[in-house]
Structure formats: structure tokens, C-alpha cells
Symmetry: C2
Subunit: 385 residues, 2 copies
């Protein structure tokens, strides 16, 4: 059955997917937290629908294509990336009217641009002040900056100050070792929330949480919601951090052995363009076989993956198929266009990765018109979905 699917292709074990969806929904419920999953992992409206059906309050997006596609299934969309580009801002503000967009940002310039756009469109936008609680990526650096931004947002006619958000992406060690980092985060968050309260700017929403920290999110006081993404599929990294078991990995890449000519290895047709190059800590290689954890993808070219046979007596034949658990599943989904859902060896459904798109229309067309492009060339610039 699986042998007839052209490789490489991502396979999703639907039983595992459903179990993962249910487990995180229950966990959020137990903690009394709202669940607003990040769709970057699956980029697929029907899976977002399954998340919403299990109680998710809305979704989190990082690209305009994700937001546009997810508007099919929910009106509650958090855009967790400062939309400071006029093209992105225009696309966000053009989302269907049933959508109540919310944005996370960390600069006065982002507030200014968003306020101007929202005013011009006559549209209200919720805003979360993004906080840096140790990741050192984006986010207000201290309580004073957070207060200043919140006040600035509250002063804008079409912006609604809705609270704060943070991403604990720096905490990705084993769950049992997250204590000290979580304590620092809890203290920093407490300081910001206290300052906001004192200034009459209490945070309605306090949004945080990732898949690796989901198990200990209950220890962070003041949070109202969590935004894990990877949990729907899981991968070698979430297993390595102890946030799930190996049997919770729902997505594998089906690949075909194309060469066994070089002794000690077998070459499959999944390389960096299907699996992604995502090394992690002391994890060996870039993926491992579902059936044979001792066999890892040692090296890759763009369309070749080199399976290391040094730890196994298994010697595959040319034409044999394997299923690879990738290191980082979010990249795998973005690299591919199609996923196939299976139960056991039975193919049950397939779907396009509808929100992987990296095209744009509105601003592209304007640019091309200015440059005097031919209609033919311009018409090739399609919508990013």
C-alpha cells in the first residue's frame, strides 16, 4: 500500500496525531489555560479545525499565508511576528471581517505602523506586548519598556491592548532540568505583570509556552494561555527533550533506498530538500528510522540521505522503503507540498500543506506595474496560498 506512494513524502500516522491533539487539549484544560496552537508545524486548515474542535480558542500564525489560510477555520488569529512591512500589514488588515486579528510586537515603530494601518482600514486590532523572558530573540527587555508600549497601544484609537506574550524557546533541555530557567522566567514575568498592574495596565492575556516546556507550564504563575506547535507531530528533538515518547512521533518521511553501492551505508531519496538539515545538541544525524532507531541519516545532499549502517546488521536492498523520523518536523512540512495520512499501512487521506506559501500578490503586482511589466509576467505572481 505505502509502496505505491511516490517518495519522498511525509506520512502522518493519524492515530498518533489524534492522540497528540487530545493529550495537549486535556493538559491545557487541566491547567486551566487557553490553548492557542501555533500552526507553523502543520500549516493545514483541517488540522487547525481538529485543534479548535478539541477546545483551542484560536490559532497562532507567523506568516501572512498562514493567517489567510487559517481564516477558513477560525476568526481568532494571533499574528506572532511584528507586521512592520507594509505588504504584510495590508494583507493582515485585509483578512475577512469575521476575523478578529491580534498581533504581538515589541517596538514603538511597530505600534505606529499598525495603528496607522488599522485607523485607515477602520478596523480594530488586538495587541500583545511581546516580552523577552530569556530567549534573547525579540521582546521588551524590562518592565519599563513593556509598560511604555502598553500605554502607547492603549492611546491608539483602533488598537486594543490585550496583554502580553513571550516565547520560551531558549528552554529546550530535558524537562527535568528546566527548573532553574523556568524560575528565572517566572520571576521576570512576575515583575512585568506587577509593573503593568501598578500602572493600571493589567494584562488580560498572558500568552506563552512551547511544546518542550508544556509539561511544566503549570509552574509559571499568571499565564492565561499556551501556544505549543510541534506537539501535533513531534520529532526527534521533542523526544530528546523528554516532552514526549518516541511512540508519539506522528510524522515520518517515507523514502526509497536508491543505492547501496558504498559499503556501510544505504542511500535514500530524501535529502536536505525533504528532511531539512536541523542538527540538535548531541543527537546523531538528521533523522532515524522508525523501525530501526539505531539507523540514522548520517549525512545528506539535496536529494540524497546517507543511512549509517554501522550499528545494524540490516542490509537493505535497492528499492526497499524506509520511514524516517526527522529531527525537526516543522521544517519537513515546509519543505514538502503534500502529506499523506495513514492508519497502520493503510492510506486514509492526503492534504496539501496549504499555508506553506511564500508568494504574494498585492504588493508584488503594484511593484511590477510600476516597473512596466508585461501582463504575462505579472499574472504569474499568484496569491500566497
Amino acid at each position: 500500500m505505502l509502496a505505491s506512494l511516490e517518495t519522498p513524502v511525509p506520512l502522518v500516522d493519524l492515530d498518533r496525531l489524534e492522540a497528540n491533539l487530545g493529550r495537549m487539549a486535556s493538559h491545557a484544560d487541566t491547567l486551566g489555560l487557553a490553548l492557542r496552537p501555533h500552526v507553523k508545524t502543520h500549516k493545514t486548515p483541517w488540522i487547525a479545525g481538529e485543534q479548535l474542535g478539541r477546545g483551542a480558542v484560536g490559532v497562532t500564525c507567523a506568516t501572512t499565508a498562514e493567517a489567510e489560510v487559517m481564516a477558513e477555520v477560525t476568526g481568532d488569529i494571533l499574528f506572532a511576528h511584528p507586521p512592520v512591512h507594509p505588504g504584510k500589514l495590508a494583507r493582515l488588515l485585509a483578512l475577512p471581517e469575521v476575523v478578529s486579528p491580534m498581533v504581538g510586537l515589541d517596538s514603538e515603530e511597530a505600534v505606529r505602523l499598525l495603528a496607522a494601518g488599522a485607523r485607515e482600514r477602520g478596523r480594530e486590532v488586538g495587541v500583545l506586548v511581546e516580552l523577552d523572558l530569556g530567549m534573547r530573540r525579540v521582546g521588551a527587555q524590562n518592565p519599563q519598556d513593556a509598560v511604555r508600549l502598553a500605554r502607547r497601544i492603549e492611546g491608539e484609537s483602533h488598537l486594543r491592548y490585550a496583554g502580553v506574550m513571550f516565547y520560551p524557546g531558549h528552554i529546550k533541555g530535558p524537562v527535568s532540568e528546566q527548573g532553574p530557567a523556568l524560575e528565572r522566567l517566572r520571576n521576570d514575568l512576575g515583575g512585568v505583570l506587577h509593573a503593568l498592574d501598578r500602572e493600571g495596565l493589567p494584562a488580560g492575556i498572558v500568552s506563552g509556552g512551547s511544546t518542550p516546556t508544556a509539561g511544566r507550564t503549570g509552574e509559571v504563575e499568571g499565564m492565561t494561555e499556551m501556544r505549543p506547535g510541534t506537539y501535533v507531530y513531534n520529532d526527534r528533538i521533542t523526544v530528546a527533550t523528554g516532552s514526549c515518547s518516541r511512540d508519539d512521533c506522528a510524522l515520518t518521511v517515507l523514502a526509497t533506498v536508491v543505492s547501496t553501492a558504498v559499503p556501510g551505508q544505504a542511500v535514500v531519496d530524501a535529502g536536505t530538500k525533504a528532511l531539512g538539515r536541523e542538527p540538535f545538541g548531541d543527537l546523531a544525524g538528521f533523522g532515524e528510522l522508525l523501525d530501526r532507531p539505531e539507523v540514522v541519516v548520517r549525512a545528506m545532499s539535496e536529494e540524497h540521505g546517507m543511512l549509517d549502517l554501522s550499528e545494524t546488521a540490516w542490509r537493505p536492498e535497492v528499492g526497499e522503503q524506509v520511514r524516517i523520523i526527522p529531527n525537526h518536523v516543522c521544517i519537513v512540512v515546509h519543505l514538502n507540498d503534500l502529506c499523506v495520512g495513514v492508519r497502520g499501512d493503510r492510506v486514509e487521506r492526503s492534504w496539501e500543506v496549504a499555508a506553506r506559501g511564500r508568494k504574494f500578490e498585492v504588493w508584488g503586482r503594484m511593484a511590477f506595474a510600476q516597473a512596466g511589466m508585461s501582463t504575462g509576467a505579472s499574472s504569474r505572481v499568484k496569491r500566497g496560498i
Copy 2:
């Protein structure tokens, strides 16, 4: 002008692209070698057309989508990946009749499958025996294996033994230091060609060469053609190996600064999903700014790139745009859907990365039909182009 393009987006400097195309065409001409460029770098029929217009004899492909798309512009297609999967084989053999497909392979099983498919379709397929000349990825390991495969191919009614191919992807150090590795390769190749001659199986085509080795390909006796790919755009890696100058890098990723909150860095909206994570040797980071080589992309999340400001006095504003030269341009093209061609700051054209596709139809549809899928789900499985 560029400011109106939604970021992140790959920009191609058309003057540089044209110069790169011309330079390699002249180089192959000077060496008296046929040029059969690998399209994996651009995945775009119009650029393949430009290569053919400058004298390329055909193209090299690694995926079925690439082969199908390139059939629009040439009938001479080398599929440089053993098509041992029945789905891939079926797609290759279904290419338009004007196409004379040629395949590289390294196993008896691959010959058997290809011969059976070609016979069934009544179609002749040229075959190159792939040799391992030091890369240790795929390829016949010694002259005896090469002779055995060549003889096997010659004995098949619908296969045409056309010669040998190799990929010197293990030689990627500085051009000036390639001598010893090239000498070993030359000796190994000589041994294989001698054995084939002696057995009455002379190689008509001897195909090799990559962008990093292009400058010294003339030193390898017996070659008849070269298959560089990256040279159309170049990148930080081809600059680092000395195979081009920095001014030959034709593709940059246009990105917008979205946050400067964390001191010492600026965050842009191009992360691993637009730039790719392709570390190389002692090259710092994952990309560098076109205008400021001292500023590198130090770290990435999926949609965030962290610019390291430690070596510059420049302090960008939120909203400012930058152009990033990526480490490995072939991955960037595959991650995106759209490229924009510019001359200076003027947008001249845009095109879809038409052959990036990772969808499939024939075998997918069959699989779904067997599983009793609904028409709605099945109709979502579109052609991989």
C-alpha cells in the same frame, strides 16, 4: 521600489545572472566540453532556456517534477538519480515523446527496473553508469563493477549504454588546494575508462564536474561534459571555495528588520524557512548582508534571522530592509515559491520556482482509490509542478 516587495523574497540580480551564465558557457566552450547544467539550483524553465540558448546541450535533473517542467524547454534530460521507485519511473517514462531521457544509475536492480519499464512503454532510455570517484555517496566502486553494469545495460533491448557519470561533490575546498583530490579522481577515472575500452564498452559520454571544481575541470582527461548547477546564482559557499568572487553572487534574500529590542542584534523576517540552515566549514553564520559583509545571520528560528551587530557600528531601524547573501542558494530557491528579478533597484520580472514541487498524481491517485478515498480528498492531490 524594492521596499514594496513583501519580504522575505529572493531577489535575482539579472546582470549578474547573465554574466554567470555567459562565463560558464564560455568556459565549457574553451575546454571543449559539453555543458549540461543541473537545474536543481534555479528550478525554472526560463533560466534553463537561457542556458540552452548559450549552448548547453541539455539539462540535468534530480526529481520527477524537475524533469517534467524542463521538458517544456529541452528534449535532452539527464535524470541524475536512480529511478528505482515505480512511481518515479512511471513519470519519467511518461515524459513527452520529444524528450530523450537519460538516466544515471549504479545497481543491477536499477537496470532491471528501468529495462522492464522501458520495454513495457516501448521507449528507449540512455543510461550512464554512475561512478564513485571519491565522494562516497553513490556509484560503482571499481572498474569491474562499472564494466559489469555497462555490459548489463548493453544487453537490454530498450536501454542504450551511453557512458559514465560522476559527481565530485567531495572536492569543495579552495580551488588552489584541489590538486591532490583531482589527481586521485583523474587516476580513478582513467582506470575505469581504460577497463571499459578494453572490454569493448567505450564510454561515449564522460560526465562530471560541479561549480566548485569547474575551474580545474580541464585537468581531468577523458571528460566530455560538465554539470555545474550553483554557478547561475552562486552563494557564500562558492565564494569561500574561490570558485567565484563575491560580486558574482546573483541571488540575495530581501528581508525586513522586525525587531531591534535585544541589544547587539537586529532581527529580520527571514529564518530557516526562507534562508535554510546550511553551515559550511568555518564560515560564520548562515548568510551575510550584501552591503555589509561584516554583518552575518548568526542564528535563526523558523521565521526570524538574528543579525550579529558586534562587528559593525550600523544600527538599523525597525522596518529597514536588507539583502542577505545565503550560504547555500539551492536550498533558498527550494524553500521559496517566487523569485523577483532586478537590475539595480528596479524590478524587471518575477517567476515561480516552477519545478520545486513535491506533489504527485498518478501513484497517489491510485493509492487513494484503493483506500476508498472520497473524490474531494483525492482531487486535492495535484500534479507535482
